[in-house]
């Protein structure tokens, strides 16, 4: 699931984001890409939102990745040290691809009939 954040992210936008996230949270291993390319300003409610999102997704063994982070958003994330918590990608497609790579790795492990033992 890709969710694009608006230019300004505050409490109201955070509530909308969490509502939009609910269908994905019903899945096993939810995969969320947050597109932050349009973000110009975000406050502590937005930062809380990202942390809450990460927490809920992690509870279901999923992952949240940030993509296309605008310089303004990058500055706020660095300021609040949240750049050290989230995986970040230059584009949404690269963030989405990173999920696919992980899934392929998992499948190949399952598919291979334990060659090391053989």
């Amino acid at each position: 699931m890709v969710i694009k954040l608006p230019e300004y992210v505050s409490a109201k936008e955070a509530r909308s984001f969490m509502r939009a996230l609910q269908p994905e949270l019903r899945r096993d291993r939810p995969r969320v890409v947050v597109d932050m390319s349009a973000v110009k300003d975000m406050d502590t409610a937005a930062l809380d939102m990202l942390l809450e999102c990460m927490s809920q997704v992690a509870r279901r063994d999923g992952a949240v990745k940030l993509a296309g982070i605008s310089p303004q958003a990058a500055t706020v994330l660095e300021l609040t040290r949240m750049d050290q918590i989230f995986e970040m990608f230059p584009t949404v497609s690269e963030a989405a691809s990173s999920f696919k790579v992980a899934r392929v790795d998992t499948l190949s492990d399952e598919a291979s009939p334990q060659p090391a033992v053989a």
């Binding site: 300004y8 505050s10 300003d41 406050d43 502590t44 409610a45 310089p71 303004q72 990058a74 500055t75 706020v76 660095e78 300021l79 609040t80 040290r81």
Partner: protein, 366 residues
């Protein structure tokens, strides 16, 4: 020394007017299209290690014996306080505008019998040897000398008063007429154009490392660490040299100040925040647990030097001004009594005041 000095602090309006065709300031070669605006205000009015650039320039001119100094600004003159107190201050932002104000100052100087005028535009920060410049000017036959650093013209001009006094037309036009006869004075000392935020950061960095004549206003508590009056630092905070903490600045527990950072007066760095390679302007609040690096911070505005971008944050719990304490003071005064004295209303409003003080002490409301 019979010299009159006019220090000009260019504001946004003046910068625009520089482009007007025929303006002498346009025709005098000057630093290339630099507005010298730093995060919304003139760089010259910004504090550098406890004193504004304007005040430092005025103090330097006074140290060379210049007594008559006038400052013309189109912006706020609030920052010109300490050493400029004896200088004549003009705010040209209101009518009649810059040039009438300038003409008026020149007229006053000529009436007082001034023989030489020094025109300084801030702008660039230049550690000028005024005596050497005047000696050079005296040795040349030119009525006008302009200061250059390499091929770059600095906004410093020495001009004889006689041709201004004896000419016709406005003083502005008389000055224009002298420009073709100008001589170049090659300046080799320290200069900073202050054209970009990175220049300002470099000036502070150079000052802390002793590369220029700017000295911090405060007490050197350890080698390379200066505290202004009433600066407070928690014992668990780490301050790495060189660093400057301005007057009444407060650094809370577990903070780290490093990378030749400066925190000007009345700043507050809240619990656990790291400040590295930064200039923090007066009255700025930095919230808890932040990681502030490679930046200039002025109230709610943060200029990131590596990204070359300015961000304005709306959430004062992250960064903002320390204004809430002043707001509290105002509100507290209004609660006490309209005339500032204790009245009977104090009893009934005491709980409100206590609530305000509790908010200030234990947390910042949004």
């Amino acid at each position: 020394m019979n010299i009159g000095v006019i220090v000009t602090i260019a504001g946004p309006a003046h910068t625009e007017s520089d482009g007007v065709k025929g303006s002498p300031r346009k025709r005098i070669e000057k630093a290339k299209a630099t507005s010298q605006l730093l995060m919304g205000s003139a760089a010259a009015s910004c504090d550098v290690l406890g004193q504004s650039i304007t005040d430092r320039v005025v103090a330097r001119l006074r140290s060379f014996g210049a007594q008559r100094i006038s400052i013309i600004s189109e912006g706020k003159l609030a920052a010109c306080t300490a050493t400029s107190a004896n200088a004549s201050l003009y705010r040209a932002g209101s009518t009649p505008g810059f040039w009438p104000a300038w003409d008026s100052v020149v007229s006053d100087y000529l009436t007082q019998g001034i023989e030489t005028l020094l025109l300084v535009r801030l702008g660039p920060y230049v550690e000028l040897d005024l005596l050497d410049l005047l000696r050079f000017h005296g040795e040349t036959a030119s009525p006008l000398t302009q200061v250059y650093k390499g091929q770059i013209a600095l906004d410093l001009v020495v001009v004889d008063a006689a041709p201004l006094r004896n000419g016709t037309g406005s003083y502005r036009s008389r000055l224009s007429a002298l420009i073709p006869q100008r001589q170049r004075y090659a300046f080799t000392g320290y200069a900073n154009r202050l054209a970009e935020p990175a220049d300002f950061r470099r000036l502070v960095h150079d000052a802390l490392l002793g590369r220029c004549a700017i000295r911090p206003v405060g007490r050197e508590v350890r080698p390379g660490i200066w505290y202004g009056v009433n600066a407070r630092v928690d014992r668990s905070a780490t301050i790495l040299a060189p660093a400057f903490l301005g007057a009444e600045t407060c650094v809370e527990a577990s903070c780290t100040i490093s990378g030749a950072s400066s925190l000007e007066r009345q700043c507050e760095v809240d619990y656990g925040t790291t400040v590295d390679d930064c200039c923090v302007f007066p009255g700025t609040y930095l919230g808890m647990g932040l990681n502030v690096r490679h930046a200039l911070v002025k109230g709610s505005r943060l200029f990131h030097l590596n990204r070359d971008i300015e961000v304005e944050l709306s959430d004062s719990r992250l960064i903002g001004t320390t204004a809430p304490s002043r707001q509290l003071g105002r509100r507290a005064r209004s609660v006490l009594a309209p005339n500032g004295t204790f009245g009977s209303s104090l009893v009934t409003r005491s709980s409100q005041l206590a609530s305000l003080l509790t908010t200030r002490r234990f947390g910042r409301s949004s």
